[in-house]
Amino acid sequence: MTDKHIHDPLAEEGHPVKDFRTGVPATPPTEDVPASAIASRSSRTLWGDAWRRLRKNKLAMAGLIWAIIMILVALSADLWVPQRFGDPKYIDTTTVSQRMLLPPSAAHPFGTDRMGRDIFARVVYGSRISLAVGVIAVAIEVVIGLILGAIAAYYGKLWDSVIMRIADVFLAFPYILFAIALIAVMGKGFMNVFIAIGILGWPSIARVFRGSILSVKENEYVDAARALGASDLRIMTRHIMPNAIAPIIVYATMSIGGAILTEAALSFLGMGVQPPTPSWGLMLSDARAFMFTAPWVMIYPGFAILTTVLAFVLLGDGLRDALDVKMKD
């Protein structure tokens, strides 16, 4: 589904025409490539080039900007949200009947829920949970996945078989069911959701990384580096890792979206974040009863999930193109 966006670097606007023999721009740099960029060519790194390519990808940049906005809002929420829109958790029992299920208005831009709480405030605070899940759970799965994937690829043989068979076992379980089972064992709670998602996510990362290392290891340039007298550590860090890590960056970015979805699903099912802490999944769950009478209760958290997951998937998709050196203009 995310593959539909096919990035054609040659189709970019302002693409400088190149002399086919030398590869240097044959025309004077256009406004797209200021002279200073040409002059500073020497200082550009692989990552600098990737960033330059990413910047040209409008969808990926939209995703990145949206993710940054979400993060800034989540981080600064304490400074302005409760003051302006009310506490996201507190239920004023005396006034609930007047304040519940109010449609969007100037005072409550997203309306209120059945406890009279401001939905905007809850969506904003819910983003903290979602982003925390995205970052922490994915960090857990990436760390476990990279270590086990690297061990499997480097040491091979028995290590490879054992680690990859364990990964297969993990992947064979229905994902959400396994997450629910893990939480049932560990107990409900914020941290356990991270851990459950992290534990469930590592096999995919390990697999991707193992395959990536194995294919990179066979490249002649690794032999060439060895023939140049580079040490094992240098070969690993300079020649294998940079070539093997790109799929992980892409996969991890997209996994953030997946982790957010999983948290929402778990919370929706009552196995994730517990009330009154706001979580998008939990808000959706609460909104089911008012889907038709007060649709805003459902629309805004649903929209928040949709846009955030989409933002990370688009960003991941853009990174895949940007990190591929061969797609360089």
Binding site: T22, N219, Y221, A224, A227, G229, S231, P242
Partner: protein
Amino acid sequence: METLLAVENLKTYFFTRDGVVKAVDGVSFSLERGQTLGVVGESGSGKSVTAMSIMRLIKGPQGRVVEGSIHFKGQDVLAMDDEAVRDLRGNRIAMIFQDPMTSLNPVFRVGDQIAESLRVHKGLSKAEAFERAVELLKLVGIPKAEARARDYPHQFSGGMRQRAMIAMALACDPDILIADEPTTALDVTIQAQILELMIELQERTGSAIIMITHDLGVVADMADNVLVMYAGKPVEFGTADEVFYSPLHPYTWGLLDSLPRHDVSEKGELVPIVGQPPSLIDVPPGCAFHPRCPYAREICRTQVPQFRAIEGDHGSACHFSTDPSFRRGTASRTEVTA
């Protein structure tokens, strides 16, 4: 002349599940400063494994040098510790790989890759090494070297990449350059350019070259000495003139007959060597070449021929090479069994 490299009865075997692959089985040669040795043979004749053994690049635990010795400037290469081996590789002996398309790391700029060995071996700073890399690119004839050093390998053409590989190999001024089929992946006009470049650079730097190739035409221009290998064994050794003009071994004759020549037009047809090179796990008894040899006799099927020098260093591993009438064009054919 200073002997840089002395390889004595080298045997490199690979111990696989299907059996022992005798990839290199008793190769000896020596290389002097400024000399070029051509190592010729079909695919799987052990040329590359010989080179890898010299560089200590044979991957264990399957692959092992089981016998023989390699001495570089008197030092025993096989007994070196890891640090000494790393100093040997790239710094003293450098290698040019066959396929320039895959031998450059796609995520590094060409200049950075050339700079790498300078940083590893000479401890140059990043800027110094890069500057030197640009000089090297100029040396190998890359136009606009300053700009091209900042390009990625995929922005280079095949011939330019091979030039870049040569620049990489030359970076530390090695005593020996091992070129493993450096022109095989290139088209013919570029091949000639690359060979010319190597000859020119050798004159300038005085390094010795081991030129591994399956193309006799390549060594004809360059090599001082030629080693012909078949199924892991040396079958003929001599100066380039000796091997080309008075070859001793029927396999060498076969290689020469299958070489297109513009000065011999009487026949117009090339004569291929029949059959396939043998599996190195199951080498034919006796002379490994006998199933494909049009001159094979009974003794060839049963006895392994020893390598014998006939005239000076020129020698071959054929039972009949001592017989002056057994020469290319005059030897009488027997039935070909393959």
